[in-house]
């Protein structure tokens, strides 16, 4: 076996190595691999720590020879990556920025395979740090001309509009209601921590693709049940995790307006085993929970890139 380099990559190292293109490539491959059983995923678990919780989630990717997990406590996110062909530990990575980019990229993959090919406008509800990568990912997979953003604080949504207009070279306009952000848009993104729905049934138009990327707690929801009922197809990153974390689908299912049996795993769509839309009028919805195999896919690529570029501290033993 060739010599193994074990790397410790800080947040700054990862931020320097990672871009949306890498994340989109890694996730496209990973979703495809998952459809054949090559990728395995364990849903997130939470264990109380007294003043919060430790979250941890794990995955493996057999053909790449990677297995690992992400965990986080009080805002410190770390991934541990093992090689599964005798290497043992190969990397420990700071995973805060990584999580933000991979969550954007997951919505990018959903948009690539579910939204109308000619989608050219995006409405985004939410203007926090996760909103930036959501928008960046959608703009990377469709030829987007117009973006509207709404969030509750005028100053924040205006700052988001000017920052993102400049960064992406796209016209981002701040609007003063969620309805105005949705009206006439091809793609609609919700990325909030809202408890009350921000996308209601009346905002959902024929042909729309929706990414619900904000929440991963059963106590919260971004869509009301009327909006969910309007969707012709609901896809997710992981069914097990969606069943325990996706508040809006859990409520819709409880009320008898959504059948878990109809929920489709995004990897099946990416792999061409399921058609996302049969017409330009259909409405598609991606429920993003954020799952471990996305982390492992991106961190595996980051490890390879760090080796190439000699980034990071080499760990002993």
């Amino acid at each position: 076996m060739p010599e193994i380099k074990r790397l410790f990559l800080t947040e700054a190292d990862v931020t320097g190595l990672l871009d949306m293109e890498l994340a989109l490539e890694a996730l496209d491959d990973a979703f495809r691999a998952r459809s054949s059983g090559d990728v395995r995923n364990e849903p997130r678990k939470r264990i109380p720590t007294g003043n919060g919780s430790m979250n941890f989630m794990a995955a493996s990717w057999t053909s790449r020879g990677w297995a690992g997990h992400k965990s986080y406590v009080s805002g410190d996110f770390r991934v541990m990556l093992y090689g599964t062909n005798g290497e043992g530990l190969i990397a420990v990575l700071g995973a805060g920025r990584m999580g933000q980019v991979r969550t954007g990229a997951a919505s990018g993959i959903a948009t690539r395979y579910m939204a109308r090919e000619d989608s050219s406008s995006v409405g985004i509800i939410g203007s926090g740090y996760q909103a930036e990568t959501q928008l960046e990912a959608v703009c990377a997979v469709r030829d987007i001309k117009d973006v509207k953003v709404f969030s509750r604080t005028a100053e924040k949504r205006e700052r988001f509009a000017s920052t993102m207009s400049e960064r992406l070279g796209v016209n981002v306009i701040a609007v003063d209601s969620k309805e105005a952000a949705a009206e006439g848009m091809d793609v609609l993104v919700a990325v909030t921590s809202s408890v009350e729905p921000v996308i209601t049934g009346d905002m959902v138009e024929p042909g729309m693709h929706i990414n619900a990327a904000g929440n991963n707690s059963w106590m919260k929801r971004e869509l009301d049940t009327a909006a969910i009922v309007k969707a012709d197809l609901v896809a997710c990153d992981d069914i097990d995790q969606t069943k325990i974390e996706c508040g809006e689908l859990m409520r819709a299912a409880e009320a008898g307006h959504f059948a878990w049996e109809s929920l489709v795993r995004l990897d099946r769509i990416v792999a061409g085993l399921r058609t996302a839309r049969y017409s330009d009028d259909e409405i598609t919805l991606f429920e993003s929970q954020g799952v471990a195999f996305e982390d492992i896919a991106v961190c595996g690529r980051l490890y390879e890139l760090a080796l190439e570029r000699s980034v990071g501290v080499e760990l002993p033993g």
Copy 2:
């Protein structure tokens, strides 16, 4: 907040810091803390990697401010430890030797609180690397005069007898049957990877305490059902994990000869909430699965000791 030192401790670092006394102290405290809900534990999970699996298990200890997890792939064991009061990651530790010592220490704690006070003899079945720490732990908590060891290969059990006689200053004799290792012994330890039972009902004598420490797979078992039926009390480290990993109790329960409701968590005995034995004639059995809170308890102490002694590599960021 004072400056946080994040340490990377190799197997060699840990081996230099760790001894049975530290592990016994850490586990005695941890079992006691668990009885009040201060310690939380998540059972081991296994995720396939193609040519094996990644195992991972997590725990937290609120009052100490620690949370973390152990994982392992192809024999490389690592613990990641977080501080839960804003510190984030505090240590990554090599955890192979640590696991061996903490598994011994768990049997030591069980023996301390469950075996007859006047226990002076130990029979041990198995002579692998886990057997050494099992014996060391029992000798640390009782005044042991006589030890008999049996394993299938004469050379191995004789080497074990001479090595351990010297190391522990106790008379360890290799015997040529499992029955001879059990006969007349106060404490009996099984630490094998046997599929077929090595402790059968006829070997179990009044007043005996048994530590079953070898297996953590539902496919294996060390005791037959007749031996389990003879026990007046069966304790374990974690009920959830025992129900999915302890082959011998699973079989006994399936056959209607053991009731899960009667299974007692060792922490309740340590904390004095449950009496282990009401007479010197009673038979007690500890089923050790090896659980995450034991790892976190020992690794938390190792981190503190490493800081004191300036051991390990400091991690950036």
